[in-house]
């Protein structure tokens, strides 16, 4: 047993942004790496075929996983219902098109519906923290899954829904697989840029503050619940956008996509890649989809291997693959390794018992959790 003292609430609040004061070399490495990755992605996408489709799926799920990573890493709320939100976005398009709306209108309707669901579910979800939030998002996800399979009149039941036609605009025709792939890439990059902006804004910083010590931010006059509410809605919208792209690229949405297994997988992507790093969840998405696609060719029990790999990551590399990579780069470039602040170890515990009443005081439990 390792002597691991749990961070109760007073997590090192001063260490906020590990990227701001980096020296030139790692930044240069990052920039070169980003260009190389982008070129590889572009080449694979323009080639189309199986590899192109695979990369497109990775990008779609990366957007959804980024939403989980953002909320989990920066606000301390780990969602276990993102695949259901992805499914919601996808069903939004498919149902609207089944009712006779055009593709672009359907996408608009889908965004609106996802936003509405996020606004309502968020009211409930931000009443609880930590484990309570995980359970709450899982419950909402299971209900969306249940609706998608049992509300046959609207959702088509277990057969799901297909979309007959993708949108097109001028020279942009999303019925062409390669154009669609690059459209997905563009949305992915825009999403990443948006997230990058959020995280560095005062809003993003206050979310991090809430994660390390919600009580202190309340005392400073922040409406922490409103902040988390907005953070939750943003995170869900990433799922919804991913869902729209999912249904455009697959042409089909079935309830299976919304089930517990998929919800777990999207969360798993974010955690394997690294919560609280912008690119970690994208890396996680690549790794998990490679697991599913390539490993399943050689190992029949790929899910077992993936599950064990995931458990090992949680135990030995709580910062995820991205965190391990960062630590390696720092060591190679001779930088002092800093204590990571956004790993799953620093996540606040929180229970449904705790917050909720208007005067809730989320005091750390004084005596528990200290033994090892």
């Amino acid at each position: 047993m390792r002597p691991q003292s749990k961070v109760v609430t007073g997590a090192p609040a001063g260490q906020t942004e590990s990227g701001t004061r980096q020296s030139l070399l790692p930044r240069l490495l990052m920039a070169v790496g980003a260009v190389v990755v982008l070129v590889i992605v572009a080449v694979l996408l323009s080639g189309g075929g199986f590899a192109g489709q695979l990369v497109t799926q990775m990008l779609v799920f990366a957007i959804a996983a980024m939403g989980v990573g953002f909320l989990g890493g920066y606000a301390g709320l780990v969602s276990l219902g993102q695949a259901s939100m992805l499914g919601l976005g996808a069903y939004g398009v498919a149902v609207a098109m089944a009712k006779g709306f055009g593709p672009w209108t359907a996408i608009g309707i889908s965004l609106l519906v996802t936003l509405l669901v996020a606004l309502v579910a968020g009211l409930l979800a931000v009443r609880v923290r930590g484990i309570g939030f995980v359970i709450m998002t899982l419950a909402v996800g299971q209900i969306l899954f249940g609706l998608s399979s049992s509300w046959v009149a609207v959702s088509g039941g277990d057969n799901g829904l297909i979309i007959p036609l993708n949108p097109s605009l001028g020279p942009l025709d999303l019925n062409d697989p390669i154009q669609l792939s690059f459209f997905v890439l563009a949305i992915f990059l825009v999403s990443a840029a948006l997230l990058w902006t959020f995280v560095r804004s005062p809003f993003g910083l206050s979310l991090q503050g809430i994660k390390s010590n919600e009580q202190r931010l309340k005392t400073l006059g922040y409406s922490t619940r409103t902040h988390l509410y907005i953070g939750y809605v943003i995170s869900v919208m990433f799922g919804g956008v991913a869902g729209i792209l999912f249904v455009l690229t697959n042409g089909l949405i079935t309830p299976t996509t919304l089930d517990f297994g998929h919800n777990g997988i999207v969360t798993l992507m974010a955690v394997i890649g690294g919560l609280g790093s912008l690119w970690g969840p994208a890396v996680g998405s690549v790794v998990v989809i490679l697991f599913q696609q390539d490993l399943s060719l050689y190992v029949e029990r790929w899910a077992t291997v993936m599950g064990i790999f995931f458990v090992l990551v949680v135990i030995f590399a709580p910062d995820g693959i991205w965190g391990v990579g960062q630590a390696l780069v720092r060591r190679l470039t001779g930088q002092s390794s800093r204590q990571p602040t956004r790993s799953i170890r620093g996540l606040p515990e929180g229970e449904p018992q705790g917050p909720g009443t208007p005067t809730d005081t989320e005091l750390p439990e004084p005596m528990t959790e200290r033994m090892s």
Binding site: Q4, Q142, S149, G307, I308, P352, T357, M367, T368, M371
Partner: protein, 325 residues
Amino acid sequence: MRMHIGAPAQAVPFPVTSAHLSASLANGMPVHNAVRTWVNQFIVQTLNGLTLAGIMFLVSSGFTLVFGVMRITNLAHGAIYLLGGYIAYSTIQVVGNFFVGMLVAGLATALLGVVLERTLIKRMRGQVMAELLATLGLVYVINDLALATWGGNPLSLTLPGFLQNSTTLPGGIVYPNGRFFILVVAALIGVFLYYLLRRTRVGAIVRAGVDDRPMVGAMGINVRLVFTMVFALGALLAGVGGALGGTVFTLAPNADAEILTFALVVVIVGGLGSFEGAVLGSLIVGLLSNYGQAYFPALAYFALFAPLVVILLVRPQGLLGRAAA
């Protein structure tokens, strides 16, 4: 894009038999008048709801016990339920006795609980979110290995002869003995757990562990052992729940997620970590969920959601939250 976790696309409708049951009841029953039929059906649905509550109680009491004492949110609890059901199935195939199957299922899952706690959970002691995520990883491992062993086709357990018959209740209601059996077993286990927690030294230690773990350790009690036993007991309850649940619901991939959802809703409604809350929550959720399924099938999931919403708005700690386990 293959993303499915070894699950068939179709979801099993949850209280699988209630519709069939009502239909067969309506046929075999002297129909006096519409009201009488409706009342009888309502009673049958209530009994179905209670049966559902009994299974939910077995599963959620283990879940809430583990949470209360160890602060572990065991997302693999549903997978252990399913594994218990499968083990009971195979044992019955070999031995030919349901009760032996149930016993073996309980012991096997308890053993699994000991192994998991000793090898895995102890490495993350106190890091609640890491523990939760690790059990999420276990879901895939357990389900995948179960899929490899028992395949993806739905299986169900059959009860021994005398439990396959039905009893005619006053008022002409015919109800399967097997359902009564589930109710009785759930009630017996509930009473036993209550006695264990409230009236024995072991229970006192467990309750003290919920309230103040370091102090329990300081008093010379082997907290490590208590943790292992509690985790094993939680797994045992899930395994027995799987054996009993397998007689009502089908055992198939994805059944674990439904059971886990039920357990989560039950413990949120009742109060996470509270034993009495699990009893109350199971009754509320079991009855509401079954009425929803019977009378508003398309909106059944809202029947599950409604108590959750009300509780979170009015009493986020759950009905009996904070009460010691």
